[in-house]
């Protein structure tokens, strides 16, 4: 079995009185697409913000390629190759596509001046490689459709050459066509060896491009399943009930890895 790129162990997070994460475990294998599902307020976004360095955890441990790490900021997670595309895209509407892709990393010429041409060429090359097609990289992102905006956000994340890419509901609010584009973009990443964590409320898309799916409920990790061994109904059941039945059952199912409800990992 391949060693996990990322292992999160017993992650805890409180927001005042809200106990958002209650000892969550999560593994990501290299080059896999891991679906992360759960009801509203289950803690999916919070867990991933902990991994991306945007939120400091109250407790628990993160191992990156087996070594313990601590991320005080997104920059520190980025230095290890962990990138996150946030739920609200986090784009600057007043800037153009190229500027959004190179936000805060403006290519500089002669030590002082931003090399706008170089930035635009690099952005074009980046978008072409990902087969994202836009009219021009000098268009302000406010004028783009939702799908294009999401693609630009993903392109920015990928321009850091991450080992791990976290996508928080990348297809919420997208048309079917745009959803299809974004999902095939994500599926292509596998060929580049990028591990993807995909937060989604749409089980079909997790089943379409995911390898495994992890379920959170009320701040707890209730199960992880191999997609090819599970059904959408079963995952839905886990999301809704927290899988109390399933959680008490595995001991009685010795054929782990074979049965449709078998837990994976651990």
């Amino acid at each position: 079995m391949t060693a996990a790129v990322v292992e999160m162990r017993a992650i805890e997070k409180h927001f005042g009185a809200v106990h958002a994460l209650r000892g969550v475990d999560l593994d990501l294998l290299p080059g896999e697409v891991l679906g992360l599902v759960g009801d509203n307020a289950a803690g999916k976004s919070t867990l991933m913000k902990v991994l991306s360095g945007a939120i400091p955890p109250d407790g628990g441990q993160i191992l990156f390629r087996g070594a313990p790490v601590r991320f005080a900021s997104p920059a520190e997670a980025r230095a290890r190759g962990i990138e996150m595309v946030y739920q609200d895209f986090a784009l600057c509407n007043n800037l153009d596509i190229a500027q959004n892709i190179f936000l805060g990393r403006w290519p500089v010429r002669g030590g002082v001046l931003v090399d706008r041409r170089a930035m635009q060429r690099a952005a074009e090359a980046m978008l072409e490689r990902l087969r994202i097609d836009v009219p021009s990289v000098t268009v302000q992102v406010r004028h783009l459709s939702g799908g294009r905006r999401q693609s630009v956000a993903i392109a920015r994340a990928l321009s850091f050459n991450p080992a791990v890419l976290i996508l928080d509901e990348p297809t919420a609010n997208l048309s079917p066509g745009a959803t299809h584009e974004v999902l095939s973009l994500v599926a292509d990443l596998k060929q580049h060896g990028v591990g993807v964590i995909l937060i989604s409320h749409r089980l079909q898309e997790v089943f379409a491009i995911g390898d495994r799916v992890a379920v959170l409920k009320q701040g707890r990790h209730v199960a992880t399943r191999r997609v090819r061994d599970a059904t959408e109904d079963e995952i839905l059941e886990l999301i809704v009930t927290g899988g109390r039945a399933a959680a008490t059952n595995p001991a009685r199912r010795p054929d782990a890895g074979g049965g449709p409800e078998s837990p994976v990992g651990d």
Partner: protein
Amino acid sequence: MTVEHAASAVAEAGVAPRRGWGGRVMGSYEAAIYAALLLVVAAVSIATPRFLSPDNLFEVARNFSFIAAAGVGEAIVIIAGGGGIDLSVGSVMGLGGVVATKLLGMNLGLLPAVGLGVAAGWACGAVNGLLVTKAKMTPLIPTLGMLSIAHGLALVITQGYPLSSLGPAGPAFIALGAGYVGPVPNPVVYMALVVGAGWAVLTHTPFGYDLYAVGGNDEASHLSGIHVTRVRLAAYMISGALAALTGILLAARLSVGDATTGQGEELNVIAAAVIGGVSLLGGQGSVLGLFAGAALIGVLLNAMVLTGVPAFWQEVVIGSTIIVAVLLDRLRIRLARD
């Protein structure tokens, strides 16, 4: 699915460029303000032919040069977003002039006196910036406080009397404000340098790019590793330093350090920025737009003088212009959203 996909692809491909074109029209707000400037100039020169005489034109330019120069700092603060605005520029202009003239009167050299005057303005900006970024105060409040503090400090230094004994460096100082480069008055040269430098910094340096990014979406900028608070703090420091330098030049032009110099100038400066297309929401606008806004105000003020409009009415006109400009700003934002 494939049909839908194709349909949406067509729709997106069709819509995006058209909106892009619309965006470029919105972006050319600067062109519109320059057109408006030309129109006003044409109207004023028809009403009072004296307006177009070279002497009068340089007089107009000299008068609005102080607004434009201080306006560059104001524009930087507003573009940096987060509700950024600097109400203290007028008072800081007065303080800069008073500090420099006081030091000259104490027989300090020209450069140290000017340098320390600028440092005083920079310090005011630093306090504004720290209160906004670290204490998380609404920019209106600390800069309104600073408006009063800087004016008060200037009064403490002058004890209410104009400072007119400027020591051995006095003549050089006065020449700074009254002199010419060829036919061009020094303040106009100073304005050209500040506006040119401001344009270059905002459009070609990483700091300028950071400024627009922070003004557009501070959360996204932070997540991308831009030091949002540092950028905003720098914006207030630049505004303070530039206001003081401008006030020093104004004092040189008037040959006197007076605490009341620059009083109320913040209105003209903010009006110039907003009329020039610097959006109060942040992230939008340019130094060239600001320059046109300052020129427009300068021409309007001059026209009112030439046509004999009483001075008291001038404030009414400037105040109304600000309100109209902000209304236009709101309108542009609504149009840009469609």
